[in-house]
C-alpha cells in the first residue's frame, strides 16, 4: 500500500477534512483528483478523511446544529471547503423525517419513520450527491457538468449546473418516464437519450471520458464519483440528528448500484467514531425490484459476487443490472444482521398506494420498492417489528405518474346534491 501526501495546501483546504483517495479493494492511496479507479487493481476509489487533524475544530453536535438547514450543516464531515454554502448551489437536504404511525400500525411496527427525500430541490436524493460533485467540479476547473442517469440524476445535474452557471450535458436511456425527461430538460442543458439500457449509457460515458469530446467535463457519477457518492452520507447524519442524535435500530434502503446503502453505513460509523451518537448496533436492509435484483439474488444464494442481469422493472431509478457496489452491500447486510430482499412490480405499486393512503407521501417506484420490501421483511420475520425502523423514500411520485395510472376519479357527476348523494350511495 502506498500513501501519497497532498502537497498543495490550497487543494487540501478545498476538500475540508478529506486527505486522499483510497482504493476500497487494495487500500492504495492517491492524491485527491478527478480519478475514480485504482490504477493498481481497478477497484473503486473513495474519500479518506482525517477529521481530527491538528488545527481542525472539533466536530460537535452544537457545531452541526448551528449550521444551515441543508446538507452543509455537515460540511466538516464532507470533502468540501468550509465556505461551500456561500457558493451558488441548490442547498439540498435537511428533508423531513416523517413519523409514520399509520403505516407502522398497518404493518405491525412499533416505531417507523420515513426519510422523505422527495423534498429536495429537484425532488430526489440526487441533489445531495450532485451538490458535492458540483463543488469538486469547480475545484478541478471543469466547465461542463455531465452524467449518465436513470432520470433523477439528470434533473439534479441540470438544475445544479444552471444555478452554478456551468454547462451541462446529460445522457439518459431512451424510454424513460415522460415526467423525468421534462424535469431534466427544462433547465435547457443538453439532454441526450441513448438507445440502450442504463448500463449501456454508463458504458458510453466511461468511453466518452477517455475521448477528446469529453475533455474538461466533470461526470458526476464517473470521474467525480468518489466525491459525489459522499453526499449520501448526509442521509445517515440527518436521520441520526432528527432521531435526537441516535442511530435507528433498523433501516431499509433502496439498492441500485448500492452506493447509497454503503454510504449510509459509512455515515453511521463516522458518527460513532466521532462520539456524536452512542455506539449501538444497527441492521441495514437493502431493497430491490424483482426485475432487477442481482444483489438480492446473491444475498439469497450466499454469494459474495454479483452476477449482472438485464433489468426489467417499473422501478427505473433502480434498474442497474451491473451494480458496482453490490459486493459491499452484501458485506454490510451480512455484517449488520440485515438482508437484501426484492419485491415484484405489482407489490411496488401496492406499496406506493399504501404509503400514500396511510401517510400522505407520494413516492416514486423506488420508494415503493423500499416500502414493499419493508412489508415483506416484516411478513417473513426478517425485520424486528419492535425495533425502531427507518425507511428511505428517495424520490417523488409526481415524476412517475404512469406507475399508478389507475388511481384517479371516484365519480363524475352534475353539480347537484342529489347526484352527489346518489354517487356515494
Amino acid at each position: 500500500m502506498s500513501t501519497i501526501e497532498l502537497d498543495a495546501p490550497e487543494l487540501a483546504s478545498s476538500f475540508g477534512p478529506a486527505v486522499a483517495l483510497s482504493c476500497r479493494e487494495c487500500g492504495a492511496r492517491v492524491p485527491l483528483g478527478p480519478q475514480y479507479v485504482c490504477v493498481e487493481c481497478f477497484g473503486p476509489l473513495e474519500i479518506a478523511y482525517d477529521f481530527t487533524a491538528p488545527g481542525r475544530a472539533p466536530i460537535t453536535r452544537e457545531l452541526i446544529e448551528s449550521g444551515p438547514a441543508s446538507i452543509w450543516r455537515y460540511a466538516p464531515l464532507l470533502p468540501v471547503p468550509a465556505d461551500v454554502a456561500s457558493k451558488p448551489n441548490l442547498n439540498p437536504g435537511w428533508t423531513r423525517l416523517v413519523r409514520a404511525e399509520n403505516l407502522g400500525r398497518e404493518l405491525g411496527l412499533r416505531s417507523l419513520h420515513i426519510k422523505d427525500d422527495s423534498g429536495n430541490p429537484t425532488h430526489s436524493f440526487k441533489d445531495r450527491v450532485v451538490a458535492i460533485a458540483l463543488e469538486a467540479a469547480r475545484t478541478f476547473g471543469f466547465t461542463t457538468l455531465s452524467c449518465s442517469s436513470t432520470g433523477n440524476l439528470a434533473g439534479a445535474v441540470g438544475a445544479a449546473a444552471a444555478r452554478a452557471g456551468l454547462d451541462s450535458c446529460v445522457f439518459i436511456p431512451a424510454g424513460l418516464e415522460t415526467g423525468k425527461i421534462v424535469m431534466a430538460g427544462v433547465y435547457e442543458g443538453e439532454l441526450i437519450a441513448i438507445d440502450g439500457t442504463y448500463d449501456e449509457v454508463n458504458r458510453f460515458c466511461s468511453e466518452l471520458i477517455g475521448d477528446e469530446a469529453g475533455e474538461g467535463w466533470g461526470f458526476v457519477n464517473v470521474n467525480l464519483r468518489p466525491y459525489y457518492a459522499e453526499g449520501s452520507k448526509t442521509l445517515a447524519y440527518e436521520i441520526a440528528e432528527q432521531l435526537g442524535w441516535r442511530l435507528p435500530e433498523q433501516i431499509v434502503i433502496p439498492v441500485a448500484s448500492g452506493s447509497q446503502l454503503t454510504k449510509i453505513d459509512k455515515g453511521f460509523k463516522e458518527l460513532i467514531a466521532l462520539g456524536l451518537v452512542e455506539d449501538a448496533p444497527y441492521r441495514i436492509f437493502g431493497a430491490q425490484a424483482d426485475g432487477c435484483s442481482p444483489v438480492a439474488a446473491a444475498f439469497r444464494d450466499g454469494h459474495d459476487v454479483v452476477q449482472p442481469v438485464r433489468p426489467d422493472t417499473i422501478a427505473k431509478s433502480l434498474a442497474i443490472g451491473n451494480p458496482a457496489d453490490g459486493p459491499y452491500v452484501l458485506d454490510i447486510a451480512r455484517r449488520t444482521g440485515g438482508a437484501v430482499e426484492s419485491v415484484s412490480d405489482k407489490e411496488v405499486v401496492e406499496a406506493i398506494r399504501l404509503l400514500a393512503r396511510t401517510e400522505g407521501v407520494f413516492a416514486e417506484p423506488a420508494g415503493g420498492v423500499t416500502v414493499g420490501v419493508l412489508r415483506k421483511l416484516v411478513e417473513t420475520g426478517k425485520l424486528d417489528p419492535s425495533a425502531e425502523t427507518v425507511v428511505i423514500n428517495s424520490g417523488d411520485g409526481l415524476k412517475t405518474l404512469d406507475a399508478v395510472a389507475g388511481a384517479g376519479l371516484t365519480a363524475t357527476i352534475p353539480p347537484s346534491l342529489a347526484a352527489f348523494r346518489s354517487a356515494r350511495s
Binding site: E25, Q35, Y36, V37, V39, C41, F42, G43, P44, F125, C147, S148, S149, T150, L153, Y198, D199, E200, N202, R203, S206, E207, I209, G210, D211, N221, V222, R225, I253, P254, V255, A256, S257, G258, S259, Q260, L261, V305, Q307, P308, R310, S317, L318, A319, I320, N322, P323, A324, D325, P327, A366, S394
Partner: protein, 92 residues
C-alpha cells in the same frame, strides 16, 4: 483472429498512450495473453492472482458484456471490437 481493443484512460500507460490497440486471439483469454506480450503489465491489471477477471473490470466483446457469455472463454471473432471498462454506476 485480429481484434481491436479499446483501452481505458488509466491503462494507457501500458499502451504508450494509445486509446485503441490491435491484438490476436480466438478467445478473450488469448487476446489478454497477446496484449500482455505486446504491452507487459496489462494482464495483472485485468486478472486477479487466480487468473480470473477482476470483479471491477468489465469487458465487452462487440457490445456484449462477457459476463453474460463465456467470460474469459468468450469467442473473439475476426474483426471483433473489445472494450475494457471500469465498473461505475449511478442510481441509489
Amino acid at each position: 483472429m485480429a481484434v481491436t481493443v479499446r483501452i481505458p484512460t488509466i491503462l494507457r500507460t501500458y499502451t504508450a498512450g494509445s486509446a485503441e490497440v490491435s491484438a490476436q486471439g480466438a478467445t478473450l483469454a488469448e487476446v489478454i495473453d497477446d496484449l500482455e506480450a505486446n504491452h507487459p503489465g496489462l494482464r495483472a491489471r485485468l486478472l486477479d492472482d487466480a487468473g480470473k477477471l477482476r470483479r471491477f473490470v468489465n469487458v465487452y466483446v462487440d457490445d456484449d458484456d462477457v459476463r453474460f457469455s463465456e467470460g474469459l472463454a468468450t469467442v473473439t471473432g475476426e474483426g471483433a471490437k473489445l472494450s475494457i471498462i471500469p465498473a461505475v454506476a449511478g442510481g441509489c
